[in-house]
């Protein structure tokens, strides 16, 4: 391999197929004169623009269909000529330097074109150079060279993460790995599980209880997740009414008064609430509006007057005080009820964090656009993050996540996308150039993930996500079953 050209932070390297270089691989350009090395990453493999190639191809295409023949080449010169035809031009991005065996970002120098040598730089070596002092490794899978690939749990702590890729590429699988990895180090995790994919995390693929059985708790709204009005904070209730149930302003004001009167009377039951609305002196339209929301709350099954059945989040967190996950199973929950549950959960989380009842929580939100209200997006990035809610968005529709989320994301776990619009959306991430995202992600095989951000010290890396011995439940139900 030889260094050919440099433009901006892009270098072009001449290579041949037997160099066996692929997109995502790291190359080291070593200039022996200055004892410096340039770390570059291959973002595209193109054919080298060899002079005369067009003539070759024209000649070959002429012969393919109408002309047949033989080549008598006893000195085997043709193999060398074919070799030249297959020359590659590797388009690489400069990622950093190694100077005195220290990793650096100073790329203001230019290696010699004539003297520099170019060689492959295995990710394992790059990881060694990173000298990550973190002691909380989460095993993600392996590198191309079958080297164990880990990220540090510290790099998810206090961070905003995105896991995205098209359907069936392994997003949820990686999310589960991250969830279990965090649990292993005592983290508290809340999963907003839209499709009930995480509900069997506590079982092995054979259906047996696994090591996480006591640490993973599945909460299904209306079944084992019910709350009483007494547990509700007015602010959370108003959020539910306004954002999930679209209660108008005037009616909200009246509800606030009703709530305060119940508070004074210390009678927080659904029945009392219904009675209070019925007897409240207010405009009939307001009453109707309040009643319709009241029945929505009632029908959600999420609220109960039975104190014995009402669960407190504090208790759930107590159960996982040494680390665990609360899986909010939102499967088969209607859109409105989903929003009610999420409003309550997030409100409650903020409340608990505010009171320092929990230190911090890792929130995994699958397809968050289906239940997260508009104002929460900014909240998650700014306010909630400071309170200790560290969110990981998991989606196969990257355009449902706002641009500012991408810009502020600390880590992006990117699986394959073929649609250019999707790639364009993800490429807005501030932690990497758009060319890298577009070029590498487009060719990622299933279960391979391009990791961008702090978890890889801003050296984008491709990892093959390891298999997980849990019941994943993420499979789509099929009509045509395999008879074999």
């Amino acid at each position: 391999m030889r260094l050919y050209k440099k433009e901006g932070n892009t270098v072009q390297i001449l290579s041949f197929p037997n160099d066996n270089v692929e997109k995502g691989d790291y190359l080291l350009i070593e200039d022996p004169r200055v004892n410096k090395k340039l770390i570059t990453q291959v973002i595209d493999v193109q054919f080298a623009n060899v002079p005369g190639l067009l003539e070759e191809l024209l000649r070959d295409s002429t012969t393919e269909q109408f002309v047949y023949g033989e080549i008598f080449d006893p000195l085997e010169v043709s193999s060398h000529m074919n070799y030249i035809q297959d020359a590659w031009m590797l388009l690489c991005k400069i990622r950093g330097t190694i100077e005195n065996e220290q990793l650096g970002v100073n790329v203001s120098w230019l290696p010699s074109r004539s003297k520099s040598g170019v060689k492959k730089f295995p990710i394992s070596s790059l990881l060694t150079h990173m000298r990550d002092n973190g002691n909380l490794p989460i095993n993600i899978g392996e590198t191309k060279e079958a080297f164990r690939f880990t990220i540090n749990a510290h790099d998810l702590d206090g961070k905003l993460n995105i896991v995205t890729g098209k359907k069936g590429t392994g997003k949820s699988h990686l999310s589960k790995l991250l969830v279990l990895g965090l649990i292993d180090y005592g983290a508290k995790v809340v999963v907003l599980d839209l499709n009930g994919e995480y509900t069997n995390l506590c079982f092995s693929s054979k259906g047996e209880k696994n090591e996480y059985h006591d640490r993973v708790h599945v909460l299904t709204p209306g079944v084992n997740l019910k709350v009483s009005l007494a547990q509700m904070d007015l602010k959370v209730m108003l959020n539910i009414l306004v954002h999930a149930l679209n209660l108008p302003g005037t009616s909200t004001r009246e509800f606030r008064r009703i709530w305060q009167s119940l508070q004074q009377r210390r009678v927080f039951t659904l029945q009392e609430l219904g009675e209070a609305i019925r007897n409240w002196k207010c405009n009939q339209h307001v009453r109707d509006a309040l009643f319709s929301r009241y029945y929505s709350l009632l029908n959600s099954g999420f609220f109960t007057d039975n104190v014995a059945k009402a669960m407190a989040f504090e208790e759930f967190f107590e159960e996982i005080r040494k680390g665990g996950a609360l899986i909010l199973n939102l499967r088969d929950v209607s859109s409105v009820d989903r929003q009610i549950v999420v409003e309550y959960t997030l409100g409650k989380l903020m409340d608990l964090l505010n009171q320092w009842k929990i230190r911090a929580v890792f929130l995994f939100a699958e397809e968050a656009h289906l239940y997260l209200r508009e104002t929460y997006w900014d909240d998650i990035v700014t306010r909630m993050r400071h309170f200790g809610v560290f969110t990981t968005f998991v989606t196969n529709q990257p355009d449902t996540i706002r641009e500012n989320i991408y810009r502020q994301a600390d880590n992006i776990f990117l699986f394959n996308f073929t649609n250019e619009r999707d790639l364009e959306t993800v490429s807005r991430a501030a932690r990497v150039d758009s060319e890298t995202v577009k070029s590498i992600a487009q060719d990622l095989p299933p279960h391979h993930c391009l990791i961008l951000g702090k978890a890889v010290k801003d050296f984008p890396m491709v990892a093959k996500v390891k298999a997980l011995d849990v019941q994943t439940m993420g499979h789509t139900r099929l009509f045509f079953t395999d008879t074999n």
Binding site: V50, Y68, G69, F72, P74
Partner: protein, 367 residues
């Protein structure tokens, strides 16, 4: 001599159409391959300076048009011969070679030669590419190479003085071309054989005796040699020969007769025609063996019209032979790499003196 060559080529005396069916039928003499290898092995250089790539350069020696200028006085006639394609499946074969300078060593020059034979058979084109064969030619070995070549191909008894180093590439190319033409003449029967160039004889590597024998072998096997020249400097009354056919209705041949025969060592063994075989702007100088009767000449060209594709008056078979022999830039780089790798030569780039002195004004093609 002919018998010996026939033996070398495993020529069978069957009278039916017999183009080489496989490599066994048309083997290069081992001597040729050995010569290439030996010349390369004898390289004592450590360095190799690749040639700056300028392709499709005209040969430094070009005998294609070495025929003296046709008379500008005297009486001559130009006869237009209208042609009708004779439909059929007459076999058509074409031969072409290319040679290219690959680079320089401390002691000599490196060149490569490649030949191609294309034949049309039952509506399909087949080809045989021979080479490339690299040669390292030095002042020390050039005479040996040249004479070995001549002896082997043409059985020339007397040693000829080898041309200057710079002309060796062209000469060796011509010698290979003659050998391939001989091979085709010996193996084909009742066919049309297309040559690239003219039937000029009397030059060092196209001796009259050799070319006469080539044509004779072809004639004896009922083959007709048609030699197409892509370019010509021949002029008649100041006009370029090929321009004479501008107003002629294709397909036709223009036969020029009545001009005084040239005298001297270099002359053509063929009658010179202008061929305008298809509509379009191109017409070509076409040399056809003088000893072939006029009726057979016309019949041969008409058979060519009926058996081969012609684009801009140029036969496809010959076009393909040219394409298959020509070196592209990629191939030259490949050969340079092969030589550097197999013989452990270090590639160096000497400064271009013109560029050094004149910068962007130092054009390589300037004298």
């Amino acid at each position: 001599m002919v018998n010996l060559l026939i033996e070398q080529l495993h020529y069978t005396t069957t009278l039916r159409y017999n183009f080489p069916q496989s490599l066994e039928d048309l083997q290069l003499p081992q001597k040729f391959i050995e010569l290439s290898l030996r010349s390369m092995r004898n390289m004592e250089s450590e360095y190799f300076q690749p040639n700056e790539m300028t392709f499709n350069q005209p040969a430094t020696e070009n005998f294609e048009d070495a025929t003296p200028v046709l008379g500008t006085h005297g009486s001559f006639t130009i006869e237009s011969i209208p042609l009708k394609p004779l439909l059929g499946d007459t076999p058509v074969a074409a031969v072409d070679i290319s040679s290219i300078r690959i680079g320089e060593t401390e002691t000599g020059m490196l060149c490569a030669i490649r030949g191609a034979i294309v034949w049309k058979e039952k509506g399909r084109y087949k080809y045989l590419r021979l080479g490339p064969f690299p040669f390292h030619i030095t002042e020390e070995n050039k005479k040996e190479i040249y004479n070995l070549f001549r002896h082997h191909y043409f059985e020339a008894s007397e040693d000829a003085s080898a041309p200057s180093l710079i002309n060796m590439q062209t000469r060796m190319g011509n010698l290979l071309e003659r050998w391939l033409q001989l091979g085709i003449s010996c193996s084909a029967h009742d066919s049309i054989i297309l040559w690239d160039g003219s039937l000029t004889a009397g030059t060092a590597d196209s001796p009259v005796k050799v070319i006469s024998q080539l044509l004779e072998i072809a004639r004896n096997r009922l083959n007709t040699v048609l030699a197409f020249s892509k370019t010509t400097n021949l002029r008649l009354l100041g006009h370029r020969l090929t321009d004479l056919a501008e107003k002629s209705k294709p397909p036709c041949l223009l036969q020029i007769s009545g001009f005084p025969l040239p005298s001297g060592p270099v002359f053509s063994l063929g009658n010179v025609y202008v061929a305008k075989l298809t509509p379009g702007i191109c017409s070509f100088r076409l040399d056809i063996d003088k000893k072939v009767p006029r009726e057979r000449v016309i019949e041969a060209v008409q058979k060519l019209l009926g058996s081969d594709f012609l684009i801009q008056s140029y036969p496809e078979t010959l076009r393909l032979a040219h394409i298959f022999s020509t070196f592209t830039a990629t191939e030259v780089i490949g050969i340079q790499r092969c030589i550097a790798q197999q013989y452990g030569l270090k590639i160096i780039a000497r400064p271009n003196v013109r560029r050094l002195l004149f910068g962007p004004f130092g054009k390589d093609f300037e004298g």
